[in-house]
Amino acid sequence: MERFRYLSQEWIEEAAKRLRAELTPEKMKHVTSSMLTVYKSCPDGQERALYYKFTDGVIAELSIREGELPEAEFRIIGDYETFAKISRAELGSRAALMSGKLILKGNMVKALSLASVVDRLNKVLATIPTEY
C-alpha cells in the first residue's frame, strides 16, 4: 500500500481527496470557517501549518503553509509529535487540549460547536497510510 509522508504535498492531496469524498456538507454542518493547525518542531526543525478553509461545509482549501501564516478563525498550536500521536490515535485531541499539549486560539464557544466536525475530520485523516 502506498504510504504518504506526513504533511508532504502528496499527503495533503490525499487528505483533500478523502475529506471531500467522505465529508458531505451535512456532515460538516455547513460550516464556513477557517483553521490553522500549527506544527512546531517538525522533524526538520521547521515550523509549518496546515490551513483549512471551509465554505458552507465544503473544504474550499487545504494547504501547507510556512513562514508568515494566514489569518484563521481558529488556530491550534502544538508539537509535530503531538499531532502525529493524535493522527495515530495514540492521543485524543480533547485530552491534548485539556492537558495543554495543544493550544487553541479563537472563540471557544464557537470551537465547541464545531468540535464534532473536527473529530470527523481527524477520523478521515487518520485513515491515510502515513509515514511520520
Binding site: I77, G78, L97, G100, I103, L104, N107, M108, V109
Partner: protein, 408 residues
C-alpha cells in the same frame, strides 16, 4: 436567539455604548490603555447580563468591550447581553483557553509592544461576591503582561455608576413592584391565623413563587435569597441578616419578611414586619416606635444630607422616643445593578472600602433605606429596607407596600 431587543422607547433601555464611551474617555484622561473589570457590579453595569461565574470584561481605549466568562455560560451571557457572541468569549481549562492566557493574549493586542497601562479592580468588601481581582489573578496577569503596568482603576466605574439613569431607575421601580406582589402573597397566606404550622422557609418560598410569577429573575440577595425571621431571630443583637430557617411561626411572636426580586439586574429589596397575634402592649409599643422612625427617616432623606448627618438626626428621634438602645445606628446601604451592594458612593471615606459617613447625597443617587431595630432581651425586632431614589427635596421610596406592622 436573543430576546434582548430594548430600544430607546423601552422604559428599561440603558445606553450601554454611552457608558462604555464615558468610561473610555476617562481611561484616556488617566492614560489607561485597557480596563480589566472583574467585579460583579462592573460586569452588570457594562454587559447588561448576570454573570454568576467568575467573569471579566476587557475594555480597550476604543471600540467594544469583550467579556470572558466560564465557557458553560458564555453563550447565555452573549444571548442576554447587548454585546454579540464575538464579544462574549468563554474560558476553560484547555491549552490557550484558560482565563489568564486567553485574557492576557487579548489584552496584549491593545498594548504597544506589550507596554501600557492596564486598569484593574482591586480592594476589599464586606460583600462576598464583590469580585475584586484576587492576589493570584493579579500575579498571573502581571506575569503574563510583563511590560504592562497594572493599576487599580475601579474608581472610574464607581464614579460613573453613582448617578442612576432613567432605565436603571425604572428597572428598580419594576423590581420593587414585583416585591410588593410577593408581600401581598405573604400577607394573604398568613392572615387570619393561616400562618400556623408554616415555617420561615415556607414563607420565603411562597414569596419567591409569587415574585417569579410576576417576572422576578431570582431572589438575588446573597444572604439566602428571601430573609425570613420569626420570634427571637427578629431581635438578634445588631443583626441584619436572617436567611430563612425551618423554624415554625408561633402566635405572640414577631415576623420579619425581607424579600428580594430582580428585574433586568435592577433590584427589589423590601422588608415588612408583622406581629403574630395576640400582641402585647409592649410589643405594640416597639412596633409603633419602629413605624414612626421609618416614617421620619423617609421624610429626612434628600439631596444634601449624608449618612452621618441622617444617623445623628434619627438617633436623636429615637432618643426622644426612648428606644435608642434598640437601634443599629446606620440607616442605609448601597445599591446599584446586580453586584453593587453595601458601600454607598465612592471609596473616599476614613475606612477604605466602607461607606464614607460624610458622603453628600446628590439627586439621582439610589440607596437602600435600611433600618434595624432589635431588642434581644424581649425577643423582638423589626427591619425596614426599601430602595430609594434621592431627589432634590426628598426621596422616592420604590416599594409601595403600605408601611405598617399589622397584628395578624
Amino acid at each position: 436567539m436573543t430576546e434582548n431587543t430594548a430600544t430607546c422607547a423601552d422604559p428599561y433601555f440603558i445606553d450601554f455604548p454611552k457608558r462604555i464611551h464615558d468610561l473610555q474617555a476617562e481611561m484616556a484622561n488617566q492614560g489607561i490603555d485597557v480596563y480589566l473589570g472583574s467585579r460583579l457590579r462592573t460586569l452588570s453595569w457594562t454587559l447588561d447580563a448576570f454573570c454568576p461565574w467568575r467573569s471579566f470584561v476587557v475594555i480597550p481605549r476604543e471600540g467594544l468591550p469583550t467579556a470572558f466568562t466560564f465557557v458553560i455560560d458564555a453563550a447565555r451571557v452573549a444571548d442576554e447581553s447587548w454585546l454579540d457572541a464575538d464579544h462574549v468569549l468563554g474560558y476553560a481549562p484547555m491549552g490557550g483557553q484558560d482565563q489568564i492566557t486567553a485574557i492576557s493574549d487579548f489584552i496584549g493586542q491593545y498594548l504597544y509592544n506589550g507596554q501600557g497601562m492596564v486598569g484593574i479592580e482591586s480592594g476589599m468588601s464586606s460583600y462576598l461576591p464583590e469580585g475584586n481581582l484576587t492576589h493570584y489573578e493579579y500575579e498571573r496577569f502581571a506575569e503574563a503582561l510583563p511590560q504592562a503596568r497594572l493599576i487599580n482603576a475601579h474608581d472610574i466605574i464607581d464614579r460613573l455608576s453613582l448617578i442612576k439613569d432613567p432605565g436603571t431607575i425604572n428597572r428598580f421601580r419594576e423590581a420593587s413592584r414585583i416585591v410588593d406582589v410577593g408581600h401581598r402573597a405573604v400577607y394573604e397566606a398568613i392572615q387570619d391565623g393561616k400562618y400556623r404550622g408554616m415555617t420561615e422557609t415556607e414563607i420565603a418560598g411562597l414569596a419567591a413563587y409569587a415574585m417569579r410569577k410576576a417576572g422576578s429573575e431570582w431572589e438575588w440577595s446573597f444572604t439566602g435569597g428571601n430573609e425570613i425571621a420569626s420570634g427571637y431571630r427578629t431581635g438578634l443583637a445588631g443583626g441584619a441578616c436572617t436567611p430563612a430557617t425551618r423554624r415554625q411561626l408561633k402566635p405572640g411572636e414577631p415576623l420579619m419578611v425581607d424579600i428580594h426580586a430582580m428585574f433586568k439586574l435592577g433590584l427589589g429589596d423590601h422588608s415588612h414586619n408583622y406581629l403574630l397575634g395576640p400582641a402585647t402592649p409592649r410589643q405594640r409599643w416597639h412596633a409603633d416606635n419602629f413605624v414612626a422612625l421609618v416614617n421620619q427617616c423617609l421624610k429626612t432623606y434628600k439631596a444634601g444630607t449624608s449618612p452621618s448627618k441622617l444617623a445623628d438626626e434619627m438617633m436623636l428621634f429615637c432618643e426622644d422616643g426612648g428606644f435608642a438602645e434598640y437601634m443599629v445606628p446606620g440607616f442605609e446601604h448601597g445599591i446599584g445593578m446586580m453586584g453593587d451592594e453595601w458601600r454607598i458612593g465612592l471609596n473616599d471615606g476614613p475606612f477604605p472600602y466602607w461607606t464614607n459617613p460624610d458622603h453628600v447625597y446628590q439627586p439621582g443617587e439610589m440607596l437602600i433605606c435600611a433600618i434595624q431595630y432589635a431588642c434581644p432581651e424581649e425577643n423582638i425586632g423589626f427591619r425596614y429596607e426599601n430602595p430609594i431614589l434621592i431627589t432634590a427635596d426628598g426621596c422616592e421610596a420604590m416599594s409601595k407596600f403600605p408601611l405598617a406592622i399589622e397584628e395578624i
